[in-house]
């Protein structure tokens, strides 16, 4: 099995990783970007992005991913598709074990593994994934033409996708555990003005009903009242969990949620290891700050490598 060495490895090709790749490639650093699935990360799950500057009419998540990738490749981004199973970061050089049996070693590493949608963990949810339970409105909305769907959540993703779903569904009911939304105001205004969007406040979903497909949701409101809502589909959009299964969480002193703490320059507690984008322990998870952190991380890596030699 082969071993290759690079001064910098970037793990993950979402907005943070692709920006890091752009900066590393333009700086002519000896680098390698490793992605396990498709370039773009979670923006591939988003139908439309209106808050990334430079696109006055907005841009689809898919198109933004392709443009970020093309821009990095214009400067000879060195990237491979591979799945990293584990890594050793305390010994130098650091080493990453790939699923294909190969090993990649490096002097510095930028972790941009991102996050994935958080499930509700309620009865019926897992059994009905792909049969009415979905975590990706942009993927699955067209299957709900003239139907009634529920959206669980009250953040930006939930409210943005509730509006998107009305292009197909007759009715979209948003179920939110509080009495007001966390989503940004312009998304709230759009949803409140849409006659196809209804809201059920102070309520959680406790079970998904159905055998071959979703038939309804069991609801519980904060007064303890239970009810059943008949729906054809449920979109679960309640935040994210970290993609950290390949990371040495103890060595990186991961927070209680499994995200990686860093300083302002994106440096983790391990010298030469940076973290950028949604995998970082932080409050705000947006495309724009993921991209910004990707750039910061490359500059931190350059400083580290300069002091090393």
């Amino acid at each position: 099995m082969a071993t290759s060495h690079h001064k910098l490895v970037i793990l993950g090709a979402g907005p943070a990783g692709l920006t890091a790749g752009l900066y590393a490639a333009r700086a002519r650093m000896d680098h390698l970007l490793i992605e396990k699935g498709a370039e773009g990360g979670q923006i591939l799950l988003t139908d439309w992005i209106d808050n990334y500057p430079g696109f006055p009419d907005g841009i689809s998540g898919f198109d933004l991913a392709e443009k970020m990738s093309a821009q990095a490749k214009r400067f000879e981004l060195n990237s491979i598709f591979a799945n990293v199973l584990s890594m050793e970061l305390k010994n130098k050089p650091m080493s990453l074990e790939l699923e294909d049996g190969n090993t990649v070693t490096c002097d510095s590493l930028i972790i941009c593994t991102g996050a994935h949608p958080r499930p509700l963990n309620i009865p019926g949810e897992k059994e009905l994934v792909g049969k009415g339970v979905s975590y990706c409105a942009t993927c699955d909305a067209p299957f709900y033409r003239n139907m009634h769907v529920a959206v669980v959540g009250g953040g930006n993703t939930a409210i943005q996708e509730a509006s998107h779903l009305t292009k197909f569904a007759d009715k979209v009911t948003v179920i939110h555990r509080r009495d007001e939304l966390r989503a940004t105001k312009v998304l709230q205004e759009k949803a409140f003005a849409n006659p196809k969007v209804a809201f059920i406040w102070d309520t959680t979903a406790t079970a998904v009903n159905g055998t071959d497909g979703v038939e309804g949701l069991e609801l519980l409101n904060k007064n303890g009242d239970t009810s059943t809502l008949a729906v054809d589909g449920v979109f679960v959009l309640v935040g994210v969990l970290p993609n950290n299964e390949m990371l040495p969480l103890k060595d990186l002193e991961a927070d209680a949620g499994g995200f990686i703490p860093t300083d302002q320059e994106t440096r983790t507690v391990i010298p030469g290891v940076m973290a950028a984008g949604d995998i970082r322990s932080k409050e705000v998870r947006q495309v724009i700050n993921a991209a910004g952190e990707g750039a910061t991380a490359v500059l931190a890596a350059e400083n580290y490598l300069t002091n090393l030699s």
């Binding site: 396990k36 699935g37 498709a38 773009g40 923006i43 591939l44 799950l45 998540g61 898919f62 991913a65 598709f81 799945n83 699923e99 994934v129 792909g130 049969k131 009415g132 979905s134 975590y135 990706c136 942009t138 993927c139 699955d140 067209p142 299957f143 709900y144 071959d212 497909g213 979703v214 589909g233």
Partner: protein
């Protein structure tokens, strides 16, 4: 979407899944990012299982009948068939190990 596997349609679907060779169908659409995500894995598996399992893809926009028949409400969905009968399915941009586990059910 996978680039190197054959595209099938509602018209030729039955004849392909009824063959003696087990068949994995990747249901996708051009507007689906995760379908693109799973593409390289599906391509790799098509090469690795060549002769043992036929791996094809179906565009759900162009072919409404088959996805409707199998109750598909999300893509990517990959359904494994043996002798014309559905064996099992997975949904979402799952990893290679999960797809291998699925395919092995027909071997």
């Amino acid at each position: 979407m996978s680039d190197n596997v054959k595209e099938v349609s509602d018209a030729d679907f039955e004849s392909i899944i009824s063959s003696d060779t087990p068949c994995l169908v990747d249901f996708w659409a051009p507007w689906c990012g995760p379908c693109k995500a799973i593409g390289p894995v599906v391509d790799a598996l098509a090469a690795e299982y060549e002769g043992k399992v036929t791996i094809v893809k179906m565009n759900v926009d162009d072919n409404p009948a088959t996805p409707g028949k199998f109750g598909i409400r999300a893509i990517p969905t990959l359904i494994l068939f043996k002798s014309g009968e559905k064996v099992d399915q997975v949904t979402g941009a799952v990893g290679k190990p999960q797809l291998i586990e699925l395919i092995e059910k027909a071997l």
